[in-house]
């Protein structure tokens, strides 16, 4: 427990540890119930206090929290009859993006998302959620399948960005991402994206050209990492907290800019405190979006998506 606790979470983590200890002891000593309830109420107050005034940088840290639910956790909680599909048919499989067919609320869908690893070994396999071109080519291939078989696309975004490497450049990282944007812009099915953690630049957008884009309360979405922004602007990556503020990458600011359509609240203390409850809230929001989108025709869905992105950005006529 002590590991994976962010500095600002510490008072809450300690309280929750005591709550867990009391609950474990409850069986042998029922008189502890009063103390347990008091402590639980106190923890809730502390959580509200700590999380009511988070800085953008603290939210960035939460979005990257190593205990945060990842795509496969959402699949486990929300999707039944899930069948994972692998490979881009050209070069290789890429485990940094997971995808497959499954059932959401009784309806068959394509599910796709970035996948980070929990432990060192899995992080090597998942490449910290940073996909190679093959990951995006797998995505592109499956978008087309979703389009052919009228399967709504549910995507989950959680990546620091597309992988920057020699092989990635040799095999056309740019082209692979660009192709995903093009394909997603033309599929005649509902596309619903949830930003569950980090939305890192083009590597995130390749899964997010959607009719509806939701973001978790402590999810982020940006054109570059705050560290990258700081090192470009001030040649100093340690100024990332300042960059995070200027970049307007937190959920409320994304909503204000029109980049996301809805913020999904996280349970007290953040998504990593209760994956099941988080998944239920995410699922509820997807269900509502799907209900709105399902009556639309293929053409209406494509036009809705076109109009959504067409209006993003601000320009004026020179005076």
């Amino acid at each position: 427990m002590a590991s994976h606790v962010l500095p600002f979470e510490k008072p809450l983590a300690e309280l929750l540890d005591r709550v867990a200890g009391l609950r474990a002891a409850l069986g042998s000593d029922p008189s502890l119930r009063v103390e347990l309830e008091r402590l639980e109420a106190h923890a809730a107050v502390v959580a509200r206090m700590l999380f009511s005034e988070l800085t953008p940088w603290q939210k960035v840290q939460l979005s990257r929290h190593p205990k945060r639910p990842y795509t496969l956790d959402y699949i486990q909680h929300l999707i039944s009859d899930f069948v994972e599909l692998h490979g881009d048919r050209r070069f290789s499989e890429d485990a940094a993006i997971v995808a497959g067919l499954g059932r959401f609320g009784g309806r068959s869908v394509l599910v796709i998302g970035h996948q980070k690893g929990r432990a060192a070994k899995e992080n090597v396999k998942r490449n910290f959620g940073m996909a190679q071109p093959e990951g995006y080519r797998k995505a592109d291939r499956l978008y087309t399948i979703a389009d052919r078989f009228q399967l709504p696309i549910l995507s989950f975004v959680d990546t620091p960005g597309a992988y920057p490497g020699i092989g990635a450049e040799e095999r056309g990282q740019s082209e692979a991402i660009g192709a995903c944007l093009a394909t997603l812009s033309r599929v005649g099915v509902p596309v619903i994206t949830t930003i569950i953690g980090e939305g890192g630049s083009g590597g995130a957008l390749a899964l997010a050209v959607a009719n509806r884009v939701h973001v978790l309360e402590y999810g982020t979405y940006a054109v570059i990492s705050p560290e990258g922004c700081a090192s470009i602007l001030w040649k100093d990556g340690t100024k990332a907290p300042e960059a995070a503020e200027r970049m307007r990458m937190t959920a409320p600011e994304l909503l204000k800019l029109g980049v996301v359509d809805r913020i999904v609240c996280e349970p007290s203390g953040g998504a990593h405190r209760d994956a099941a409850a988080t998944a239920a809230l995410v699922g509820q929001a997807i269900e509502e979006a799907l209900t709105e989108l399902l009556p639309l025709s293929r053409e209406e869905l494509v036009n809705d998506r076109y109009a959504r992105f067409r209006r993003l950005g601000t320009v004026r006529i020179a005076s």
Partner: protein, 286 residues
């Protein structure tokens, strides 16, 4: 080497100034001292080593377009400051400085032109304007370029030279990638050709959107083209990058572009390519 006959030597006084104050300048490729006028006459290509130096937008028009003429679309669009961004200087201050230095409103010109009498929708990034970065104005103008071309059933020829996203517009800059590609995809869906021309440098968000989605992708010799910056890759993989990495020749070798064309070849070959890609429409009309 054959250069367009109707070239106007020298360009404007302002362009001359950006090329260096004196009558001579050093080639960036071979260090040879060259006459500024001679270099202008070869569209900034070194006669000794064929190094392609930066070329001003008006000179690109002279090189490629009939009579060097572009009927501009949306030239009066200018950027706002949605993030109220500042990094020492405010975004409006940086915009004003770029506008002063370049005489342009933003980092791209778009409009109607023709090559060998063949009408096209033409766009050209302007690297000198904030590194050719794609903010809302660039995204909007590219979307309108493809929309306008689709409406008029014209091919698009788009010259790109961009460092990628415009940091000062943050996430809205990223959204321009989706906006521009969606418009390009509609143009493609209407059966119209897109020649994507990648100049030095084309990286980041511009590379990862429409740059490689051309029916034909063309690169300038030695142009730096890629997704991630060299420094980012080196820090990530902790090794030096091989010589020639992310250069046009590297991309050709890896199958990412169709052709590398010297400036002197571009106009002719664009004309031939378009004649092939539009052969069916000519038949329909004929």
């Amino acid at each position: 080497m054959t250069w367009p006959e109707k070239r106007r030597l020298g360009g404007s006084a302002k362009e001359k100034k950006t090329l260096g104050e004196g009558l001579f300048r050093k080639c960036d490729g071979c260090d040879e001292t060259l006459e500024t006028d001679a270099l202008a006459a070869t569209f900034e290509v070194c006669p000794k080593c064929e190094h392609h130096h930066k070329l001003a937008p008006s000179r690109w028009r002279d090189l490629l377009l009939d009579d060097g003429k572009l009927e501009q679309w949306d030239a009066n669009l200018v950027a706002c400051d949605p993030l109220e961004f500042t990094d020492g200087k405010t975004y409006p201050q940086r915009l004003a400085a770029a506008q002063r230095n370049t005489g342009a409103n933003d980092a791209i010109d778009t409009g109607l032109a023709s090559i060998d009498g063949r009408p096209i929708a033409y766009g050209a990034f302007f690297f000198s304007f904030m590194g050719g970065s794609m903010g809302s104005v660039v995204g909007e103008k590219i979307a309108r370029l493809f929309e306008g071309a689709k409406e008029r059933r014209l091919p698009v020829v788009l010259l790109q030279a961009s460092g990628g996203a415009r940091m000062q517009e943050g996430i809205l800059s990223l959204m321009q990638m989706a906006k521009a590609v969606a418009a390009q995809e509609r143009h493609r869906g209407a059966g119209l050709p897109f020649l994507s021309v990648l100049l030095h440098p084309t990286t980041g968000g511009v590379a990862a959107s429409f740059a490689f989605l051309g029916d034909v992708n063309i690169a300038e010799p030695r142009a730096l083209i890629g997704f991630a910056g060299a420094r980012v890759i080196e820090t990530t993989i902790r090794q030096k990058l091989p010589e020639g990495f992310q250069r046009a020749e590297f991309l050709l070798e890896h199958g990412l572009v169709d052709r590398i064309l010297a400036r002197s070849q571009m106009r002719n070959e664009f004309s031939v390519l378009l004649s092939h890609l539009q052969a069916h429409t000519a038949r329909e009309v004929g």
